[in-house]
């Protein structure tokens, strides 16, 4: 259920990455891209929560739910980074960090 919340349901405190996939020639179907994103997330040990807003080809991957010790979290981060950095499908990726924003 937490995974079904989509990218809007973010930041339960775990790691998350935004990923921009290369779009393949002739690839029109959103579902095809979604499947590629699912496979990529799985390869990185993450869960694909879905497309980020209206940005085609951009997906949010999060760490699977469940408390983990810090060492495991760090290992998971390294694994995810390694996979995303080297995967042919990934155009761009970035670990999500908190932003400071102030009301004016």
């Amino acid at each position: 259920l937490a995974e079904a919340g989509g990218p809007e349901a973010q930041w339960p405190g775990g790691l998350s990455w935004a990923v921009h996939l290369h779009s393949r020639e002739g690839e029109q179907e959103e579902k095809t891209m979604e499947r590629r994103a699912d496979a990529l997330a799985q390869a990185a040990g993450l869960v694909n929560t879905g497309r980020i807003g209206e940005l085609r080809g951009h997906y949010l991957f999060v760490q699977p739910a469940g408390r983990k010790p810090a060492m495991e979290v760090e290992a998971a981060r390294r694994q995810a980074e390694a996979v995303l950095a080297s995967h042919a499908d990934v155009h761009w990726h970035s670990e999500q960090r908190l932003l400071r924003r102030t009301k004016r």
Binding site: L1, A2, A4, G5, G6, P7, E8, A9, Q10, W11, S16, A18, G50, R51, I52, G53, E54, L55, H58, L60, W92, S94, Q96, R97, L98, L99, R100, R101, T102, K103, R104
Partner: protein, 647 residues
Amino acid sequence: SIYFNDPKYPQQWHLNNRQSPGRDINVTGVWERNVTGRGVTVVVVDDGVEHTVQDIAPNYSPEGSYDLNSNDPDPMPHPDVENGNHHGTRCAGEIAAVPNNSFCAVGVAFGSRIAGIRVLDGPLTDSMEAVAFNKHYQINDIYSCSWGPDDDGKTVDGPHQLGKAALQHGVMAGRRGFGSIFVVASGNGGQHNDNCNYDGYANSIYTVTIGAVDEEGRMPFYAEECASMLAVTFSGGDKMLRSIVTTDWDLQKGTGCTEGHTGTSAAAPLAAGMIALMLQVRPCLTWRDVQHIIVFTATQYEDRHADWITNEAGFSHSHQHGFGLLNAWRLVNAAKVWTSVPYLASYVSPVIKENKAIPQSPRALEVRWNVSRTDLEMSGLKTLEHVAVTVSITHPRRGNLELKLFCPSGMMSLIGAPRSMDSDPSGFNDWTFSTVRCWGERAKGVYRLVVRDVGDESLQVGVLRQWRLTLYGSVWSPVDIRDRQRLLQNAMSGKYLHDSFTLPCPPGLSIPEEDGYTITPNTLKTLVLVGCFTVFWTVYYMLEVYLSQRSVASSSACRNGACRWPRRNRKAREEGTELESVPLCNRKDLHGGEVESTDPAASPGLLGPEHLEEGAWHLALNSKGALDCPPQQCPPELLQDQQEQIC
């Protein structure tokens, strides 16, 4: 002639200033002509909107709203310890507070619809910003964002990769392709010598950056100077001056009305409301049209402290006030007669590697780039809109740097102001500064970037590593600009501001919104629980029926082929102590005669419940005791009728 019974309307000096005539947004004439923002939706991206407040509820748009902090469709603010989550509600009231409800105040665009996206009341990431900027972007026309990176005079930050992509996607695909309008507050870092060119939201070409002036027309203590600010409008000033009266939340200490809304936060929503008025009279204005109209109509005014300079195109700009005060009458009349600016043309220079030392003041490093006619041929770019410079500089103390850009006309823009509080040692890494001061000027010519170090000589010298020039504009020539200025001047009498004059508008594109997660987790959980509950009771009930039938079938009466189904106790049925189930059986008189159904549709031999009148139901199943008893031993009340069901 405008009158409202809202008790605080007379104190809304920014709408109609009777104490200091002219020191308001000049909107009453627009209202008199029935331009109120009807048909336009403005969304406040903030800490929530209390849409149940009397002054907001009638204009609230749930379709345009969302709560990204709690992941549900309702952007109601949450009470907090600091009593601070009233911000979005106050901004919303400025835009669309309902008039003539004898409550509080009136909004600038009181005929528009107001939505809320709650995103500031919790952890915020780049991806969440990206979702917010495009949320319901075919419903929301204008996004009012009275927030940004810290205004502490030492932060350099803006939208990250996804936020930038979302802003760009918004102006390309939002609002049926005419482009979402993003209105941002320029920032409150004036006391820290901050400058909005260190804020990537404020210096973005995709946003309308609005600053503030106080009731006396002066730059308030909190306001920032900025070469990329488009215009200013009214807000609060120091303690002796009036602030903005608007709706407040009524949670915690709130009363539903406030007289204390201030900052550039209060200015941006007023601009958003005025843009809503523009969009009512001309819905097909593009995001660039809106910026052009602001540049063309904002009014320079007397302020000795401001460095007003008139550029080559005849537009006056000051770092303190942008192109001047927003004027609702001028904006709306200009919008009424505006035909769209041509496509966005741009020119990007190559990355110019310099690796040159930045000398101490008064000396300066000057680098140049010539943009020739040939360079602009492909795009057709003739006159400028935004001019951007992306630099990489190493320096041990970033705040000591000063950057000035000179357009071919000689117009100077202070794009990187020195900031005494910024001691960051990492310099600038591909940071983009921008200016609007060359708006309307010719694009061709030599651009000069002048960099100098205004700090202490004891520090290591800084180095300009590389820079790149980006020009945005259109194929409009300077003559076209002047023609447009004349056209607008002719419209300012208001003679076109009536229903019988309307320029044609294209319908816009049909762009479907991504709706992949219409079911929120909470809804999903509720549905699953209800489903489980239903399944459980279904299984339970089926078991009960099955076991009861088995029990009857195994009794001696049934083994002989005649099951006695006692007559149902109607009272018990009404009280709900009996189950309602009717077996598919023949009706047979106790005397052994078959009773045929009078319903020709009934299948012979079998009667379902639908073929039985209610009063004629002979209940098959009730209490266990009745099932187990042969007729001669059953309680008489169960054998009241001579007709029985025989299965």
